[in-house]
Every structure is written in C-alpha cells, then in structure tokens.
Amino acid sequence: MTTTILETVWQPLRLSIQVSLISTILVALTGTVLGYMLSRKDFFAKDVIDAIITLPMVLPPTVTGYYLILILGRHGLLGKIIYNWTGWAVAFTWQAAAVASFVVSFPLMAKTARAAVDSVNSELEKASLLLGKGEIETVLKVTLPLAWRGLLAGIVLSFARGIGEFGATLMLAGNIPGKTATMPIAIYSATQSGEYSLANYLVIILTILSLSVIYATIRLSKRD
C-alpha cells in the first residue's frame, strides 16, 4: 500500500490543527478567568500562583514535558488515579499533545488577558455595579467587551504557540505517526530519516500557517 505525499502531509497538519484548536479553546476560557483574577482580585498566594503558571514560558519544553509525565504518565500522580479508574492513560495519545499545548500556551493567554483587563478603566465596572448589575454580568457586559482586542491577541498567540509546540509534546505524547505526530514532530522525523521533500512541504505549510496567524494579529491590533 502506498500513501501519497498528500496524505503524509495531511495527517500531521490535521492533527496539529485539531490539537491546537482544542487547547486554544480551553486556554482562552481558563486563561481569561485567571487573567481577570490576577488583574482585579487579591487572593491567597497570588504571586506564587503567578510565578508557577509563568514557569512553562522559561523552562525548556523538555522539562515541562518531564513534569507532565510525572503528573500524567500511567504511573504519574494523577495519571495513576485516572488509569485505575478508567483503564486509560493520557500519555501517548493525541489528547496528551493537547495537554502539552495547553500547558505551554496557558501563561501567554493568562498574561495577555491580565494586561487586557488592566487596560479597562475599573470605574466603568463600578458604574455597572452601581446600576445593580452583578459581578459576572459586569464582567461579561463591560470588562470583556472592552478588553476584547487584547483577549483576541492572546487567543491568536496561544494558537500559534500550540501549533509550534514540540518538546513537551514529544515527551508526553511521543512520536506516533497519525496519532501524536504533529507538524513539528513530523518535520523532525522526516529530517532524521532523510525524507527532505516531505520535510520541505511540512516546513512551508507550517511557516505559512504561522505567518498568517501573526499577520492577522498585527492587523487586528491596528484596526480601530
């Protein structure tokens, strides 16, 4: 059975998009919530939490991946519980690639969201509360609509970071063609095995994809 080059390119591309989309949706929701909390709330160990979630931005992705194995591997802290319960382990599945993407793009989203919320005049939130609206309604109707540009930038950045994720993904999800081999990992494999024409295709597609995403962000942040 011969697979066309189209299929060999399509598999990692589809996987990368699937993984990044799912991780981006989760990151957008949770990162916005944490960004809001960091901007507007005082809570226990706020700086410590801020520091811990920032860590994946500075650690080598292999270290982040190693931690993820310790936590989510079949014998990991959480992974063991999940495995005993369901007979399923997240490691070496496409979901593991999504988890890795999530962890490395979360700090980007949370920090961008925090800056976006910081930029909203809090007096407007007070005006909303004084009209009898609740906090959640105020966030949904006042804070987030006024912060949307920054939030969108964070979402796009998170997506781009997810698409480009390599190290932590390789550690937790491995390199299983068609299952966990996302674009960056497929490029690494192709190069290692001397399939340069495949590598070329993958590199060009990844470059165009990332470039369009960054270009879109620049345009969005410029528009009035």
Partner: protein, 250 residues
C-alpha cells in the same frame, strides 16, 4: 431616607471620619461643600457601598449597611449593598458611560437586565427622557461622539432610568467646560424640583444657593457646619466655613 450615624472611616492608618452623622429626609436636597480632601466623595462612596467603613451605621430607606472590619464583606453585607444600590443612583465627575454601547443602550441595559423591564418599555422611557433633555437625536450615538455636557446628561438619564429613591452626585460639573455646566445643572434642577432626594457634592455655589434645602460643610473629614443656604452664604458661623467661602467665592 438616608441616615448616617457616627460614621468612622479609615484609609489605612488615616482616620478620615471620626464619627460623623447626617440625616437626609425624603425629598430633601443636601449640598456638600468643603475643600479638596475633606471627605465629600468618601461619604458618597460609603453610602453606596463603594467604600467600606469601620464604625457606625448607614441606613438607606430602611436598609442598613454595617461597618466592616473584616477584609471581605459577607454575603449578607453584599446583599444589603446591592439593595442600597437599587435605591440610590450615582453620577460621577467622570461620566463613566460605557464606551462600547450607544446612548440608548447605556440607558436601557440595567432596567432591562436588573429590573426586568421589557425592552420596548425601557426604550420608550429612555427616548421620552432624552427628548426632555433635547438629546433624542443622539440616542444611537456613541459616548465618544458627545460633548462632556451631553455625556453627563446621559449619565444622569442612565441613573434615573433605574427609578432610584435617591440620587448621589459627586462633583457632576467639575470636569466640564464652563459653557456646559449650565445644561447639566438645569437637568439636575428639574430632577430636584420633581422631589428627588438628592445629595450632591459640588463647588457650584450658585447652584447650592438656589437648589439646596441644606448645605453641609466638610473640613478634614468632619462636618463643621450644617445650615440653610442663605445662612451659610450670608452669615456662616464657623471660621473655617468663612475662609473656605471667601476663597471659593473670591
């Protein structure tokens, strides 16, 4: 209607209010005057729960706000604050209109969402109020395209759309160009003439003289004099009132 009793307020170590009291009757118009930093804004912000206080009590139309010494208010405190906010409307020096909404959306949002008024009814009320203040043609404009005076009148319309029992104004004309002060004060005067209970902090002495039932003079977090406007302006009793008035009236 609004009762402030023995109010103590700290900002950190700074003991601003050392037990002040003030009673505002239904329909009464009370003007707060006094030098910058004397505590006028702080009092208004305590009344609507934007600031906590550490001693004494504030009661608005039967709902009591208690002093809060713990860092976080409890859920019953929060509920009392919410009830009070439904009873008192507030207008700030900075108009604080929602920039992403049109004039009409700014006005109808809270009545529809909070009071459950139908959208059509809220629109109708808003348009009729905007017509009264000659702004019906601006209903679909965004705040950034309005003058300061127009924005402040919309802010008043937005607060009144919640049908409050009382209104608080914190220097409503202080950030306006002089030629726009009159149009805003005239909207406030109309509101006052219809019997709205009002507390207003202002440096507009002409307005205080004309519209106030009572003038309350603040200095250093203390109420140093309370009298009818004619008494305050013609025969102030307190020396600090005298010097404040002579400075501001020039």
């Amino acid at each position: 209607m609004i009762k402030v009793r023995n109010l103590h307020k700290y900002y950190g170590d700074h003991h601003l209010f050392k037990g002040i009291s003030l009673d505002v009757k239904k329909g009464e118009v009370v003007v707060l005057i006094g030098p910058s930093g004397s505590g006028k804004s702080s009092l208004l912000r305590c009344i609507n729960g934007l600031e906590t206080f550490q001693g004494g009590e504030i009661e608005v139309d039967g709902i009591a706000l208690h002093s809060i010494s713990r860092p976080k208010p409890s859920s019953s405190d929060m509920e009392a604050i919410r009830q009070v906010r439904l009873k008192v409307g507030m207008v700030f020096q900075q108009f604080n209109l929602f920039p992403h909404m049109t004039v009409i959306e700014n006005i109808i949002e809270a009545p529809v969402k909070v009071l459950g008024v139908s959208r059509d009814k809220a629109m109708e009320d808003a348009i009729s109020f905007l017509s009264r203040i000659n702004m019906a043609n601006k209903a679909d404009a965004h705040p950034e395209n309005l003058s300061g005076g127009q924005q402040q009148r919309v802010a008043i319309a937005r607060a009144l759309a919640m049908k409050p029992e009382a209104m608080l104004f914190d220097e409503p004309t202080a950030s306006l160009d002089p030629e726009m002060v009159g149009e805003v004060l005239s909207v406030i005067k109309d509101m006052v003439n219809e019997g709205m209970t009002t507390i207003i902090s202002t440096h507009e002495m002409g307005f205080a003289r004309e519209a106030a039932d009572r003038v309350v003079v603040f200095a250093d977090g203390d109420i140093i004099e309370t009298s009818a406007p004619e008494d305050i302006f013609t025969s102030p009793k307190n020396d600090r009132t005298k010097s404040f008035l002579s400075r501001i009236l020039r």
